[in-house]
Amino acid sequence: MWSRILTVLIMLFYALPIVWMYLSAMRTDPDFLARPLGIPKALNFENFVTAYRMADMTRHFLVSILVTAVGTIIVLFAASLAAFSFSRLRYRGRDTLFALFFLGLILPVQSFIVGLFVLFRSIGWLNTIAAMVIPTAGMGIPIAIVIMKYYFDALPSSLEESAYIDGAGTFLVYRAIVLPISTAIIMTVAIFTAINIWNEFLIPFVMVQSERIRPLTTSLYVFSTRHSARITLQMAALSIIVTPMFLLYAVFQKQVQRGITAGALKE
């Protein structure tokens, strides 16, 4: 009974800023400034339309989708191959290599952002889509490898054994046996990676300056500094960006939760 009340209170605290955001988005500035804690008198969607158009959201949504999709695919491809080799194959330097990736897991991005900027500048890749995709993919690989490797370790190798006995090559085993039974973990890593790439702010902030190829995160920053006086408009912009994420989360929440718990328990 006690815990019932407590849980409701806690859930309220969590939901309150989000609810406030949605409600404020449907009001007008003068109305909001007069009573910031009020409820909209009518369902007013004008702010949403204005914000969407002013912030050129279609373009930025597309950029984010592109960067996230390509980045995630790259991570899945590279990480699953590498994790497979760390878990199932034996070769010289295997363990050192794995340890190297482990190190990459904990290195803060500030250690290499400076070098990254200069490197990309000298190749002439600054201010491009690649300037966002490659770093975010590179940063997502270590954690993906670690999660997948532990997962592969826990898989029984009997199927692979029989395949090898039948004369199958290593790559075939990877493609036709290990991958298909790993769809769950692949999904989880995909979702995890996609969320991280989608939410990335520092990399696009540093590497991309053209309005044209800005992703959602930095374009929202620009938008909010430019129009910070128009509070309800900002709330509308936030709502637009956040709603598809919440919807996707609602659909995939089980996988997300499971992925985190799995990663934690492997620790």
Binding site: Y14, P17, A78, Y91, S111
Partner: protein
């Protein structure tokens, strides 16, 4: 490890599988880090390299008062977030365990994790606003005066609050996963022995998830050095330097002042500090966690 033997496969070509990942890793992390180390002893003038082999940047580090402030702020941030993220996460996990159907509860609390930090930053910046902010208006309902949330001395505290709102759910999920695996029988026998729920929690359940606690500690301590987005969005240029932390100072040094050499030196220092903290946590792990018994 999995049942059955791992065959002696791979031999000379096994490493090929790791090549794609390795290439990216080299390109994105290894080479830039080496660059950074090299730059830290280089003499730059804006974007032009003038020479290599100067230690002046490292000599400047201990004399830099802003860096000292960044250290203080970061450790302050770390302390607050340990409480707001781990402490709260534990508390929430304890509640979640006791609920019969906790999925809705856990999903809602976890939801802020999926938000881009820029969204959280803009939203909470508005919530902290002096006049039209959510918090101050709520306080006004109870007749309490407005608080200057983002001004010193509350700057770091307020930002930590936001971090807590976002990440407590993440840690709750981790702790919940550990707690839920503890067999009922253990707590049941404790109840029979007359133990209160609180004692059970602290003396039995917590120690059984101590590996997760240490993992959480690692994440929070190293994460405190990475916090950029929230600080940048909520404090802008931060003329009072009340919320200056390593990442913001680094970006400012490198991009605004275009001091690549010094910025690199700060990066190197930052990396060393993070590695040291990891070492400390590793020691804690060995001492506190040791060999965890399976349950």
């Amino acid at each position: 490890m999995g049942g059955g033997m791992i065959r002696q496969r791979g031999g000379t070509t096994g490493w090929l599988y790791a090549v794609p990942a390795l290439l990216l890793f080299l390109l994105v992390i290894v080479i830039p880090t080496l660059f950074t180390v090299t730059f830290s002893v280089a003499d730059w003038q804006r974007f032009q390299l003038k020479g290599i082999g100067t230690m002046k940047h490292y000599m400047r580090l201990p004399l830099d008062i802003t860096l000292g402030k960044a250290f203080r702020n970061t450790f302050l941030y770390m302390s607050y977030t340990v409480v707001f993220e781990i402490g709260t996460g534990l508390f929430l996990a304890a509640i979640a365990i006791r609920l019969r159907r906790s999925l809705l509860f856990r999903s809602l609390i976890f939801a802020p994790v999926v938000l881009p930090s820029i969204v959280t930053g803009v939203l909470w910046q508005q919530a902290f606003a002096m006049e039209a902010g959510l918090l101050n208006r709520l306080l006004a309902v109870f007749g309490v005066e407005s608080v200057r949330w983002l001004a010193p001395p509350l700057t770091i505290f307020s930002i930590s609050l936001v971090s807590g709102w976002v990440w407590a759910g993440f840690f709750m999920t981790i702790f919940y996963a550990g707690l839920v695996r503890i067999p009922e029988s253990i707590s049941e026998s404790a109840v029979l022995d007359g133990a209160s729920p609180i004692t059970i929690f602290f003396k039995i359940q917590l120690p059984l998830i101590r590996n997760l606690l240490v993992l959480a500690l690692l994440i929070v301590t190293t994460g405190a050095f990475k916090g950029f987005d929230l600080f940048k969005v909520m404090l802008r240029r931060d003329p009072l330097e009340s919320g200056v932390v390593f990442p913001t100072y680094l970006v400012r040094t490198f991009f605004e002042n275009r001091n690549i050499g010094y910025g690199s030196a700060i990066s190197v220092l930052l990396t060393v500090v993070v590695l040291m903290i990891m070492g400390i946590v590793a020691v804690i792990r060995r001492v506190y966690v040791g060999d965890m018994e399976e349950y």
